[in-house]
């Protein structure tokens, strides 16, 4: 078990390299038309001073960003057990098809007959996602999970509005273990958020839920398995409680990787589902996006989906804008098609059997790891004792912290020193000193065993030489970062321009 070293370039800002007159781009000559056209644009509409952009050659640009890339860590670099983010391997074949001209060089407003390939991919992916989730129609428009959540909330809103109940139904119920986006989306959709607690088993407290529902209930947002990695066993009861109260059930698909081919949100009674194609369906996360958060609904909500829907009339695929109660649009155009086509390729290559294996192995990996981590001094796995986890589990190192001062954050930073990305930490908020660990099906047993060894070593260090852990990371491109200073009003620096003003006294 060796420590790792990340590249440590002293790479200046792009603004500090280059030289006046250099550039990295060649542009077709203007001579072929008429330069005097410029004089048509009146002086008062023209830019007076050129933008203060860097002046660098292509050589310098490529070196600069190549060095920066070496100071970044992706799924291809090593284990990335970031809970709830499903950092699985991104098959290279999917990138290859996403870079075809037929994906890159198409304009969304082209006539439908020239976009039959794109529409066919969208239509078939819609059908497959319906089959995988047990829903009846998908919109691929949302660009991310949170965008999908907003779409779902807008559908809930439109549904109650149509039934003339929106004035009364003002509340969305969210468990205390929910992703932060759930309450934020509900609130963006104009609803109030009612939080229900989890019980000792790590699931929604059913009695508390019964007390929370009322004629004011518009719906419930639920992740299943939840953020503790525990399956909400009493989902049918939950479903009845919400439906009996006249609310709708929204499924946050962030954790869908755990139950592919095993159970479907549609069969659990959910009315609306979003999936994260950049999690479950392997599309690369690109350092923060683009993603895709398609939203699927049951038959009775089909007419509320965003426009346009993709349909097939037996001969050709077409865009259907004639959706009677449609909420309209949630994003420009139809979808992030370069993401959609990767997910399409993924399902086409793994098939039904592959999807099932993905869930089985991701769950097996998580439980294997959980059983080993729970034996490490200072760590425990609270909630739902003895219950199998699904694709992820949440460990607490509150024991370690009280005995050694070493916190979840310190453990996370020390993991980086061994070339392992940190788990999600301090989430869900109901677990003290939480480390949310999701190995995914892509981790090999060798990597899992290595991870366990590293965690054992960190525990040992915490008890014997806590300074080493408290001062981590040591082996990354930079040491511990001053995040307080970064957000302090006096030192806040969000652009080169602000930097010059604040620190260069320009």
């Amino acid at each position: 078990m060796g420590e790792f070293r990340q590249a440590r370039w002293f790479e200046p800002l792009i603004f500090s390299i280059g030289s006046s007159g250099r550039r990295g781009y060649s542009i077709p000559s203007i001579r072929d038309t008429d330069r005097s056209a410029l004089r048509d644009i009146p002086e008062n509409l023209r830019r007076r001073r050129l933008p203060d952009l860097p002046e660098v050659s292509e050589v310098e640009v490529v070196k600069h960003f190549t060095r920066l890339s070496q100071m970044n860590f992706g799924v291809d670099n090593g284990l990335y057990p970031l809970g709830s983010c499903t950092m699985k391997y991104n098959p290279k074949m999917n990138d290859a098809v996403a870079s075809l001209d037929e994906v890159r060089w198409i304009h969304p407003f082209q006539p439908e007959e020239t976009l039959q390939g794109m529409l066919e991919v969208m239509y078939k992916l819609d059908l497959w996602l319906c089959e995988i989730t047990g829903m009846h129609k998908f919109s691929l428009q949302p660009a991310a999970g949170a965008n999908g959540e907003c779409t779902g909330i807008l559908i809930i809103r439109a549904y109650h509005q149509m039934h003339d109940e929106l004035k009364k139904r003002r509340e969305i119920i969210v468990p205390d273990s929910a992703h932060g986006t759930n309450p934020a989306s509900a609130s963006m959709g104009g609803f109030e958020v009612v939080t229900v607690p989890s019980d000792d088993s790590g699931c929604i407290d059913i009695e508390a839920l019964k007390e929370a529902v009322s004629p004011r209930t518009a719906g419930l947002m639920l992740t299943n398995p939840n953020t503790l990695g525990i399956f909400e066993e009493r989902i049918r009861e939950i479903e009845e409680i919400i439906h009996d109260a006249g609310g709708l059930l929204y499924y946050d698909g962030a954790n869908m990787n755990a139950i592919l081919g095993k159970a479907r949100p549609g069969d659990m009674g959910f009315d609306i589902v979003h999936l994260n194609l950049h999690k479950t369906f392997s599309t690369p996360h690109g350092g923060g996006g683009p993603g895709a958060g398609p939203v699927g609904v049951k038959e009775h909500l089909k007419d509320f989906l965003p426009v346009p829907l993709v349909e097939y009339d037996g001969k050709k695929y077409y865009l259907n804008y004639n959706v009677p109660h449609s909420i309209g649009k949630v994003k420009g155009f139809y979808c992030n098609f370069d993401v959609i086509v990767r997910a399409f390729a993924y399902i086409l290559t793994v098939g039904a059997e592959g999807l099932k294996s993905i869930s089985e192995i991701s769950v097996l990996n998580a439980n294997y790891l959980a059983s080993k981590i729970s034996c490490i001094r200072g760590f425990e796995i609270p909630y739902g004792k003895g219950k199998p986890r699904k694709h992820e589990f949440v460990a607490s190192c509150s024991g370690l912290k009280s005995e050694t001062r070493v916190s979840a954050k310190n453990v996370a930073k020390r993991l980086l020193d061994y070339g392992i990305h940190a788990p999600t930490i301090y989430f869900p908020p109901i677990v003290d000193e939480a480390l949310m660990i999701e190995p995914t099906e892509s981790a090999s047993i060798e990597e899992l065993d290595e991870f366990v060894k590293v965690m054992e070593a960190i525990s040992k260090e915490a008890y014997e030489n806590p300074e080493k852990v408290l001062s981590a990371p040591h082996n990354t491109s930079v040491g511990p970062i001053d995040e307080v200073k970064a957000s302090h009003p006096r030192t806040l620096c969000l652009s080169w321009r602000m930097y010059k003003r604040k620190f260069m006294k320009e």
Partner: protein
């Protein structure tokens, strides 16, 4: 076939791991899913294909698309064909960037953090603004978030937009605005030259106005002649001035910060991103006052130092605005954004530099004028519809011809040309009008051939 992606999916390893956790069957791990909701059949999906077969199959399906390389396409209206330098593809395909998550652990993610800080910084220079976030889902989403931000900053709820904006964009805006109790009010624009009707604007602006939004160049390609006057009206009423831009224009046209914009948004797709059938990069920037910055949506990267103060370093900042900390009180629910497109835009802006943007802008203006001149020589064509200066896009009206626009576009398509976007349903008052777009990608031959084909189509 899936085995190649799942290293532990062999019988031997499965058994070894199941033994280790004390189970005999894999289904024991799913025993908490009740019989009632357990899926008792296989998913009905196509049989899995090998990489070779799958690639062939997808290529076969996608071949049914006709690309703008195979045809000549004059569509814009929110997504535009621009050349993408090879270096942009090269950098953005580096897997350290491509396969990383949002940089929650800054010490191991300095690469994407510094790149996004540089993206923000270059956007600020181009737009002449102080602060930018590291992306929204696209221009329409940026507009929705901007309307909500204006309402938070001013605690007012009337948001004014020009009549001539994309109906699709307006639909997105409404979905952000209405649940927040924001009323969208349209301001008239002159049918002659597209300029904002100042009398109408003054009538509609009041102490309830959170902001006035304009686009420059507008959705229909014409330029706003005196944006300062609009800024003055809204500022006098205590509201914010918001401007939407095409960043490609800013090497030659005045940037929004230069004429009083408080919030500037736009579409970053032209900056080194393919159209991808409509993948977008939402630009979002504002002035540097603290009360504005605190209300910004989305991820923002800041520059700081290491704790020992020895090294410059970067991390996400002001996270107390965001959903994972503030939950239902967050400024927005956005987390996953369009970071990789922003990285591409950063590489693109660095490659172009100030002179590149200037020359590119000049070429586009020159091409725009060339195409307008050529088209205006055709009988039955009124171009541009609006008597104003245009950049990259302009309106072409066919009321003087006996042919409906739909038929003209169909005849062009037969010649391998995709004409401008049909605006008849969006703006019926403009008659048989379409929106044409021309960029550095269009050659003079393509422009000539469009004019020839149009003539034929009109005479046929």
């Amino acid at each position: 076939m899936h085995d190649q992606y799942i290293p532990n999916d062999t019988e031997e390893i499965r058994k070894k791991m199941m033994d280790a956790i004390g189970i005999k069957e894999i289904d024991e791990l799913f025993s908490d899913i009740s019989e009632e909701i357990r899926l008792k059949r296989d998913l009905n999906l196509p049989n899995p294909l090998s990489e070779l077969e799958a690639k062939r199959e997808i290529e076969k399906v996608l071949k049914k698309n006709l690309t703008v390389k195979e045809m000549t396409c004059f569509l814009g209206a929110g997504a535009w064909p621009h050349h993408v330098p090879a270096a942009v593809d090269y950098i953005s395909s580096r897997s350290e960037f491509l396969t990383s998550y949002t940089p929650y652990q800054p010490e191991i993610s300095q690469g994407i953090l510094q790149s996004l800080f540089e993206y923000q910084s270059m956007i600020c220079e181009l737009l002449d603004m102080d602060v930018a976030n590291c992306s929204m889902y696209g221009w329409p989403s940026s507009l929705g978030e901007a309307a909500r931000m204006a309402a938070r900053v001013t605690r007012r709820n009337e948001f004014l937009v020009p009549h001539y904006i994309s109906r699709d964009k307006l639909m997105v805006l409404k979905n952000y605005a209405e649940p927040a109790g924001i009323r969208i009010i349209e301001v008239n624009q002159s049918l002659r030259n597209g300029q904002i009707d100042m009398e109408d604007l003054k009538r509609k602006v009041s102490n309830r106005t959170s902001g006035v939004y304009v686009e420059n160049p507008s959705y229909l390609g014409f330029l706003i002649e005196s944006p300062e006057e609009i800024a003055e009206v809204v500022h006098d009423a205590g509201g914010l001035f918001l401007v939407g831009v095409d960043p490609i224009s800013l090497g030659v046209l005045r940037p929004p910060g230069d004429y009083g914009a408080d919030i500037a948004i736009g579409e970053g797709q032209p900056l080194g991103n393919y159209m991808n059938g409509g993948s977008l990069l939402g630009i979002f920037a504002c002035r540097g006052e603290d009360y504005l910055i605190r209300q910004m949506p989305g991820r923002i990267i800041g520059m700081t130092t290491t704790l020992d103060g020895k090294r410059q370093a970067f991390c996400m900042v002001l996270q107390t605005r965001e959903q994972h900390i503030r939950r239902h009180r967050a400024t927005s629910n956005i987390c996953t954004n369009e970071a990789l497109y922003a990285l591409r835009a950063a590489v693109y802006m660095a490659l172009l530099g100030p002179r590149g943007f200037q020359e590119l802008g000049e070429i586009i203006i020159s091409r725009t004028r060339f195409l307008i001149e050529k088209l205006s020589q055709i009988n039955g064509v009124r171009v541009p519809f609006f008597d104003a200066h245009h950049f990259k896009e302009f309106t072409v009206n066919f009321d003087g011809s006996s042919k409906p626009l739909r038929e003209i576009n169909r005849r062009l398509l037969e010649k391998g040309i995709i004409g401008g976007k049909d605006l008849t349903s969006e703006f019926p008052e403009l008659g048989q009008t379409s929106l044409y777009c021309v960029t550095e990608m269009h050659t003079l031959q393509e422009i000539e051939s469009l004019c020839e084909s149009l003539k034929e189509a009109l005479e046929a």
